[in-house]
């Protein structure tokens, strides 16, 4: 009698977890914006046997955004999942993998992300600031003020904005705009930039130095701006940030 087909894989089987981990590393390694995502749940797994030691695996994954920017060299295992009250962001991914002679490779992947609903956040935390659109005028104003503030005080390289990662606005009891944005060092010192900022260009990939800034601008009851920028130092492509060699938009 022909051998019975193998029992369908469970979503928490070690083989499923290994495939999911491979898929999540691929997704983070090929994303150029925002933050790294961590696995929250394997929604489904379907295995299609193609022949001896040749399988196609379809995964549906439920991911959660972490606090690590995509350019950060921090290993995913050390990245904290953004908490519910920080206004979490969920990613839903469909990934098609091939397992040939025991070796996994990603054939195709499609993801979309969405923030948790404001109602959910406010139900648990009525005064929590909520995510706002990245082109909100208050957000753009705070990012500009924060970057100018950093560049006016640093003795290091003049930093340029790469992208705004996230922004939240709290309206009461105080009015605070909180922003996070990715930056890159230029070929100027902050002092040189004062004379001719147009000449300050991003460093070439083989010398690139990316970083990340967080800022909070209190508008009411009093004006206050707090800025913290950290540069990662020059990074060579790693499994955690493999796309560095392809540059960033």
């Amino acid at each position: 009698a022909p051998a019975a087909p193998p029992a369908p894989l469970g979503c928490d089987d070690p083989e499923s977890e290994a495939a999911a981990e491979f898929a999540v590393n691929y997704i983070n390694g090929h994303s150029h914006h925002g933050y790294k995502f961590a696995l929250n749940r394997i929604d489904s797994i379907v295995v299609r046997h193609q022949g001896p030691n040749n399988e196609i695996v379809f995964l549906e994954l439920d991911l959660l955004e972490t606090t690590c920017p995509i350019l950060s060299p921090t290993p995913l295992a050390n990245c904290t999942v953004r908490s519910f009250t920080e206004h979490a962001v969920e990613g839903d991914c469909d990934v098609k993998l091939q397992k040939l002679d025991g070796k996994l490779s990603v054939v195709a992947s499609k993801c979309h992300s969405h923030a948790d609903s404001s109602e959910d956040v406010l139900r648990l935390c009525p005064d929590c600031p909520l995510l706002t659109t990245l082109n909100d005028t208050e957000v753009l104003s705070t990012v500009t003020a924060a970057l100018n503030d950093h560049n006016s005080k640093t003795a290091d390289a003049y930093l340029r904005l790469l992208e705004i990662g996230r922004a939240r606005i709290q309206h009461h009891p105080v009015h605070v705009v909180s922003v996070e944005f990715a930056v890159a060092a230029t070929n100027c010192s902050a002092e040189e930039a004062k004379d001719n900022v147009e000449a300050c260009q991003l460093l070439p990939d083989d010398q690139s130095n990316y970083g990340f800034c967080t800022a909070a601008e209190t508008k009411r009851p009093s004006q206050n701006l707090q800025v913290d920028c950290q540069l990662y130092g020059h990074q060579v492509p790693t499994p955690d940030v493999p796309f560095l060699s392809q540059g960033t938009s």
Binding site: C11, N40, I42, F84, D120
Partner: protein, 38 residues
């Protein structure tokens, strides 16, 4: 009504008696939640 009743009775008879303390295995998917569900 007759059909429903018949089906309900038939289903009742078909039900395989389960040993006392039988715990059905968890469904294979979706898997466990590692952080929280939004």
């Amino acid at each position: 009504a007759v059909a429903k009743r018949a089906v309900a009775e038939a289903a009742q008879h078909d039900k395989v008696p389960r040993p006392v303390g039988f715990v059905p295995p968890p469904p294979p998917c979706p898997g466990r939640i590692r952080h929280f569900k939004i």
